[in-house]
Amino acid sequence: MASIMLEGIVKRFGKTVALRGVNLEVRDGEAMVLLGPSGCGKTTTLRIVAGLERPDEGRVVFGGRDVTNLPPKDRNVAMVFQSYALWPHMRVFDNIAFPLKIRKVESSEVRRRVRWAAELLEIEHLLDRYPHQLSGGQQQRVAVARAIVTEPEVLLMDEPLSNLDAILRVKMRSEIKKLQRRLGVTMVYVTHDQVEAMVIGDRVAVMNYGEVQQVGSPQEIYNEPANTFVATFIGSPQMNIVKGVISGGLLSLLGTQIEGVEGVEGEVLVGFRPERIVIGDGDLKFPAIVDFVEDLGSDVIVHLSVEGAGELVIAKLRGAHASLKPGEKVLAGVMRSDIHIFDPKTGRALKHGV
């Protein structure tokens, strides 16, 4: 049993407050991704789970056991560092075997376990090498092998893929996910890459300003963002947010209107994703002028300036729309179900779909 509970974690470094009351539950065997921009507190949260930092307030509970004041070695955790932290003076074998030797595991058992971990990560042929003789991707595999060799209850990963090139990153992220499923280990994974977060996480905790903004499955985070921060941080290009007014169920925005918006009154922020915009269709249609076209081959990112409203809207369209030219007039549209309403003061979501 290794669920993780963080209750009201506060962490200060001198005068800066890194975490202002983080509450998070990671279920047994779950892959939880902490996602957020740099400085949001995600790595600090991970280090507190690991026991490398002590929280100033709050509790860390592993499967009912309060471990807040326990050192890392009494928590049965393993961690993969961003820099891999392979010890340069040890061969790959000794790097992977180190946690076992520290636990005084018998040497035949050490060999068996190291071989098991090395096979899982397909690095059996590298065991005699030194870390500096390995490529970045191979070093990464060694670091993961070292982390799983003790079969820990909790596996922590601190941006493990950020030092790899793009192709390797895509390959490794699915491998890590498969490995985590196969081992059934509870994992906390830190990243600033939203795609990585979506692929790896059973659930994703989006963090900013030392707080958890929203916890949910990738689908929930994407479809029902809790606030404007999550809405704009998740998805690329980021969600369009424009000003609107609702009075008597009539939502006015971008020089057009849509009826039957119930439950909210007054000034609001209205959000809709670029990839949900269609040309010439939709429940809410607004005329716009093509400002700029980015042709990505499969898709086209079109910058639309909305006449009269003075707003710029980004649309992500199918490649077929690559023929659009700057200055061209189009009628852009969005479905009702794709419209999100946010509170203009707090940024909190009021309604998903109108």
């Binding site: 026991g51 070695k73 560092f81 932290a85 010890w87 040890m90 520290i102």
Partner: protein, 308 residues
């Protein structure tokens, strides 16, 4: 059309000539101030009344009078019958491991201490004071009336050690060696501190998460990581111990009864007291050869490290 003068070989020669042209000024200075004096010393050491012989060397090595003996001395009582060279050897055997290990352990321990830069600076002070002053301080430290160590020993009831160490043949060498550990610790600590600070924090944190205790982290992660620095400190300390002169001169003058003399001090006695330049030169050559062996290792290692 090809020009005869441009064959690869003649180009190579031209390159070499040019290289030597640039080296010429430095070589000229080196010849006058380094090569000529060395050659001169060797030449003096080999010259005696019978012409060129090894006579000076044989005389120096077999000398047995307490103040000038290199190997076996016939000093009376107190200290063991060791000559200057054996004193150097004992010095190295005690001082090199002690200073190296102490510097490494302190350097790592200080990373956990608040205000470590103050402590480091205090220890480093011993490096910036002139060694002659260091020698005098050693005399004070081991003085029977005011010295820290004898008073401490007296307090522990060790009456034999509660007197002026430098004045007795049994303790004179020991006082110098212990004093030199203190004097040289700043060097060891500074080099090791830099090396310890260079260990990525994640190396240590990874070991900590894997369950290693502080002692295991030190043994399996820190020591191997700073090993190149440790080797450098050890060899530099060894070189210093071979050449050691100033603190001996200031603290004990090699005495009493030659019980704390060292190679460089014997050389100085032949040169400045006995005015026997042949023997002084022979001692100098012996000292140089011993130093070169250690230095060659250091140079080769540092070149090897750069290549990697």
């Amino acid at each position: 059309m090809s020009r005869v003068g441009d064959s690869p070989l003649s180009l190579k020669i031209k390159e070499h000539v040019r290289a030597y042209l640039f080296l010429l000024p430095a070589l000229a200075l080196l010849s006058v101030f380094v090569i000529y004096p060395i050659a001169g010393t060797i030449s003096i050491s080999l010259r005696s009344e019978e012409g060129f012989t090894l006579g000076n060397y044989i005389a120096v090595v077999t000398e047995r009078s307490p103040t000038k003996a290199l190997i076996i001395s016939e000093n009376l009582g107190g200290a063991p019958p060791w000559g200057a060279l054996l004193h150097n050897a004992v010095w190295i055997l005690v001082h090199v491991p002690a200073t190296t290990a102490l510097g490494l352990v302190l350097a790592y321990m200080l990373t956990h201490v608040y205000g470590r830069s103050v402590v480091k600076s205090l220890i480093f002070v011993s490096m910036v004071i002139p060694m002659v002053v260091g020698g005098l301080i050693i005399r004070f430290i081991f003085d029977g009336q005011v010295g820290v160590i004898p008073r401490l020993m007296g307090g522990l009831g060790l009456e034999d050690l509660a007197r002026t160490w430098t004045a007795y043949p049994e303790t004179s060498l020991a006082s110098l060696i212990i004093g030199s550990i203190w004097l040289w610790l700043g060097f060891s600590l500074t080099i090791h501190s830099a090396a310890v600070d260079n260990i990525p924090r994640s190396y240590i944190e990874a070991a900590r998460i894997d369950g290693a205790s502080e002692l295991q982290i030190f043994r399996y992660i820190v020591v191997p990581a700073v090993w190149p620095a440790t080797l450098t400190v050890a060899v530099m300390t060894l070189l210093w111990d071979l050449k050691i002169f100033d603190i001996v001169y200031a603290a004990t003058q090699g005495g009493p009864g030659g019980s704390s003399t060292v190679l460089a001090y014997v050389m100085w006695l032949y040169f400045a007291r006995a005015l026997d330049y042949g023997k002084a030169a022979a001692t100098a050559v012996i000292l140089t050869i011993l130093t070169l062996v250690a230095a060659a290792y250091l140079v080769r290692r540092s070149l090897g490290v750069e290549k990697r």
